[in-house]
Symmetry: C2
Subunit: 288 residues, 2 copies
């Protein structure tokens, strides 16, 4: 596995693959790789002739006062994870390369970034879409892989890629969970034992709400109530949002009735557990 | 010459050229081609193995109340111009293809779009950068050609391409002028004989200001005065701006002294002549 440290070299190598007629997959990451990332890499490896990944803790997607400075950085271990997954090259990017001197260009997706995490993390999605547009322009993969733990992010990026004709197929990949249901996340590393014990409540709440929907519950207020009761907010867990929306548009159900068809229902939670912000979601698909 | 009517076919053909190792040039236009466009096509033809052009009257770059509806559309003649210039394919784009259903993604360049035309045409540059990002993503040319009559646009697009790593070299091409100095523009077609007689005053004013700078004049107020006197605003010509700025950053000279080094001086005018908005500019380069 090759480690590439400039955008020019990443573009050059990826371009050579395309010119040779090879199919290419790309997994952009902020490092601190866990089993969720490993799955993205494995899925890419299975679907593409060549696979690249990037490691870049993107400063522009951290809102003011967030954890940019303390975000976990574990580069050696990350490179091992990539190598084991059969990645062909890893682009370890640097801020002065991704954001050249005088940088002043932003990519924004409007409606899809308004609710949920967009509401609580001002500027976050603008940072995500801008850096992903840049990385996709550099690497020009046929497919790029994103985990569904960040459901809104996956939808936003799909939208951006379509709107700007970036020519990459976005492949969302199922969330990987700990045995107790907690979604894998680099930020789980922040959890102390007490918080780690509380965190699985998020997935339990989502599962309970999903069960209710599958049993025929359509009242948004009731589904939210199930989420809230199971989350049991208090000293140990603070709810940022616990929401029920169209899985396609991320819009609310204006009449208060959650309908599975045609778009599916997104059940999504963001909560602070012991000072750490965690998100998770479940999609109840359209009835077939 | 082939006429391509979908982004998918344009992407497919351009990709095949790249895969074959050919160098590719691209000239995006809004149609209504004149000698200025023909020069862009000829320069591209001279520098690249394969040349494509696009014709698309981009609705998003027209501000509210502007001339989108009456913008000249001369497709048959345009295709002849392209064919004569040796273009390999012309992508005649349609709005529903460039802007897919549910479109909501914008590319914005911040500082460079604030002054000059950005001030008087709200949303204009956002429309330009978004459509050019999309077209460059579709065609992925090695080089793209832009006329310097739209000086600010060329600078904005250079910035965008660098910031988003679009991988295209932006080639600005000198303005082509009528014998009396009027810059070629599709909007010159709007000018009635009286307005056509007045319009060359813009270039004469810019030339007079350039002469003054070359003779050593540095006072911005004096250079602006020369522009204003030569433009002789009145019933027949209304000044929108007549400005003196850094040719690199488009910033004003904060101390009122126009310095040629290190960035050159931009002298730029926008004026309404007989109801038609015309722009033109001259750059006095840095002293070598």
């Amino acid at each position: 596995m090759r480690v590439v440290r400039t955008s020019a070299e990443a573009a050059f190598r990826a371009d050579r693959w395309r010119a040779a007629g090879l199919s290419t997959g790309f997994v952009p990451t902020m490092g601190a790789l866990h089993e969720g990332h490993a799955k993205l890499l494995r899925v890419a490896r299975g679907e593409c002739d060549r696979v690249s990944a990037s490691i870049f803790v993107n400063p522009t997607q951290f809102a003011q006062g967030e954890d940019l400075g303390k975000y976990p950085r574990t580069q050696e271990k990350d490179l091992e994870t990539c190598a084991r997954a059969g990645v062909d090259f890893v682009f370890v990017a640097e801020a002065h390369d991704i954001y050249p001197e005088g940088f002043q260009t932003w990519v924004t997706v409007e409606e899809l970034t308004q609710p949920l995490c967009g509401r609580s993390r001002p500027g976050h999605f603008r940072g995500v879409t801008t850096v992903v547009a840049a990385l996709l322009s550099i690497v020009r993969p046929h497919r790029a892989y994103f985990g569904l733990k960040d459901y809104q992010q996956a939808r936003v990026i799909e939208r951006m890629v379509r709107d700007l004709h970036l020519g990459t197929e976005i492949r969302p990949v199922e969330t990987v969970r700990e045995p107790d249901g907690l979604a894998m996340s680099s930020r789980n590393a922040y959890l102390d034992p007490a918080a780690r014990g509380v965190a699985p409540r998020i997935h339990r709440a989502l599962s309970a709400a999903r069960e209710a929907v599958l049993r025929g519950e359509t009242r948004v207020s009731e589904i939210r109530g199930i989420l809230a009761r199971a989350l049991a907010p208090g000293e140990d867990l603070e709810i940022e949002y616990a929401d029920v929306r169209s899985a396609a548009t991320l819009e609310e159900f204006s009449d208060g009735k959650a309908r599975r068809s045609p778009d599916g229902i997104l059940l999504a939670v963001a909560a602070r557990v012991g000072g750490t912000r965690l998100i998770d979601n479940v999609v109840v698909p359209a009835e077939s």
